[in-house]
Symmetry: C2
């Protein structure tokens, strides 16, 4: 799939110059421009020859005969993998993410991170909370709302709070709830939601019938767990995307905004980076979702505690300021990690 034709030093230099220029100006880059910009003093004619070579190899393309070149997705990929890395870590200057360290509440932190990602990148920010299934219990409450309905509050060791209402066919007694509460909080610390369910099973087999109704409905929790993933999804900066000239076309805007509203699809798309160490960049057609063609995604996962994964990142046009955004996303992931670890 990925042809291994290496580029000469000069080709690399020119490819990089073209991409940088295009990222800044959003217009096809001509040979004259590069001839002037570049350190090597080469005439436009020479540049043209090299450009033709780069086009043949699939790194550049031509909107039409008499226009300059623009990078292909493959061109961007080469740039991200081979050309942009050196400069990316110059000094650890201000990232702009500093305000985050003052937030101590999950929802607020997630939303705040998302806003900052969008604000600093000028693209669209995404943050996904850790799944509840990855969290270990610190405290759990079963609160009676009505004889048929229990509110379950789950607090993780990392301080994240999830709440769900479960609805049963049979009524519960306050008595039952109290016992549940006590049992779970005394016996289930450090367990995740599945393990807690196991423990409850054991309890029932010991003291049969006492919790019959309760347990029957605890299994409902499982269905609910899946849904909770959707709720913990943050997307910010929709209007940012409109500032970029590649989205001057109404059709493209529509397609993209449709994609943004299908949270479930987006989550699936992003899930693919969950095994990836570090910042993952997905460029244009590397994404399967057709509505997202023309866009790149820069994502990183973050860990909370032992193996608790959430994700955050940025979506923008393929013509993205990659080095800057990659660093931003990386820093954000690190900040979130340290914020939740220090407790």
């Amino acid at each position: 799939m990925y042809m291994a034709d290496e580029l000469t030093g000069r080709e690399k230099l020119i490819l990089e110059a073209i991409i940088k220029q295009y990222i800044n100006q959003a217009e096809p880059v001509g040979s004259r421009t590069i001839s002037k910009r570049i350190v090597l003093s080469l005439s436009p004619a020479t540049i043209r020859n090299i450009m033709a070579d780069l086009e043949e190899k699939g790194f550049l393309q031509h909107p039409h005969t008499s226009a300059g070149r623009i990078p292909t997705d493959r061109g961007y990929r080469y740039y991200v993998d081979n050309l942009s890395k050196k400069q990316s870590r110059k000094k650890t200057k201000k990232t702009g993410l500093e305000p985050l360290s003052k937030i101590h509440e999950r929802e607020e932190l997630m939303e705040g991170t998302c806003k900052l990602l969008s604000f600093l990148s000028k693209y669209v920010g995404i943050v996904i909370s850790p799944r509840i299934t990855e969290l270990r219990m610190k405290h759990m409450d079963f609160i009676s709302l009505s004889p048929h309905r229990i509110l379950v509050v789950f607090v993780s060791e990392t301080g994240l709070v999830y709440n769900r209402i479960i609805e049963g066919r049979e009524p519960y007694t306050e008595q039952e709830l109290k016992m549940m509460n006590q049992f779970v909080n005394e016996n289930c610390e450090h367990l995740n939601i599945f393990e807690i369910r196991e423990k409850l099973m054991e309890l029932v087999s010991e003291e049969k019938m006492l919790y019959k109704n309760l347990l029957q409905n605890i299994s409902l929790l499982n269905e609910e767990i899946n849904r909770s993933q959707i709720e913990s999804f943050y997307l910010q900066g929709h209007s940012n995307i409109l500032k970029h000239p590649e989205f001057a076309d109404l059709q493209k805007i529509k397609a993209l905004f449709n994609a943004f509203e299908e949270k479930i699809k987006l989550i699936r798309l992003l899930d693919k980076c969950i095994d990836y160490e570090g910042v993952k960049v997905t460029i244009g057609t590397e994404n399967e979702d057709l509505n997202i063609r023309g866009c790149s995604i820069v994502m990183a996962r973050y860990r909370m505690g032992s193996r608790i994964n959430g994700m955050l990142g940025v979506i923008g046009p393929t013509r993205m300021r990659y080095p800057e955004v990659i660093e931003l996303v990386g820093s954000a992931a690190k900040i979130i990690e340290t914020l939740f670890c220090e407790e």
Copy 2:
């Protein structure tokens, strides 16, 4: 401001016909079209005369000399107040909101309502949860996360859950927390968050020093309360708005999407309907926010229990299917109310 010139029966009929036609077709309406559509058999020339009258009175306008008429904001207002009402309640046919009655969890219900509002209206749906300050306590939990941080879970009588983390300068003991927990749950049922704070004040003056640190920081809750309003705000159907021809202009889209991202401003805008009984319609320039010019808002508040107010509604172009949307929003408010009352 609002001139009281009444319209003749014929003028009303024609104004209504023009507005209906324009709402459907989104194009300036000519005299020929109306002449054919209308029950009265009048020639285009006569219609033109009446149109000129309506324009003089401020109900219609002319994009340019040789175009048909389009309604002014005032025209829409007259239509909504005087013309559209008769048909609006024909039969209580299916609203499409039925799936809501199966949802029993606050966040899910709010988001689901918002999605349905947007889906059924084809405009943008808005839902605002009740303020925590309006809610009465059913249960409250103070859970220790670390010596300096307490998670406060507040469950209202209506089953809404809010959680906040408060951070103190002085450390708390588990002991103190337990006493707090017990005291609040035994003495503060049915109270709102402010009243609970009062009660805690009393407690401290009785048993001085014991809860010193705790109380000092309970006041922090107040700051947090304000912020919580922002979190309970749902907006859905951004891409719907792009389907309407009045938003073919990129500038308009940008302005509107900027408005959508400034949640706080939006909330303030919508707050104005909180004292209004029934469904409130705000048309075009009746809104102060410049970014929202060209849009109408149809909102209704809903009550949960005694005086607990939330709001829901729809934002769309001034060329909106008012009767239908007004009925939709009204039904949605009623459904939410009954869902939370029956417990």
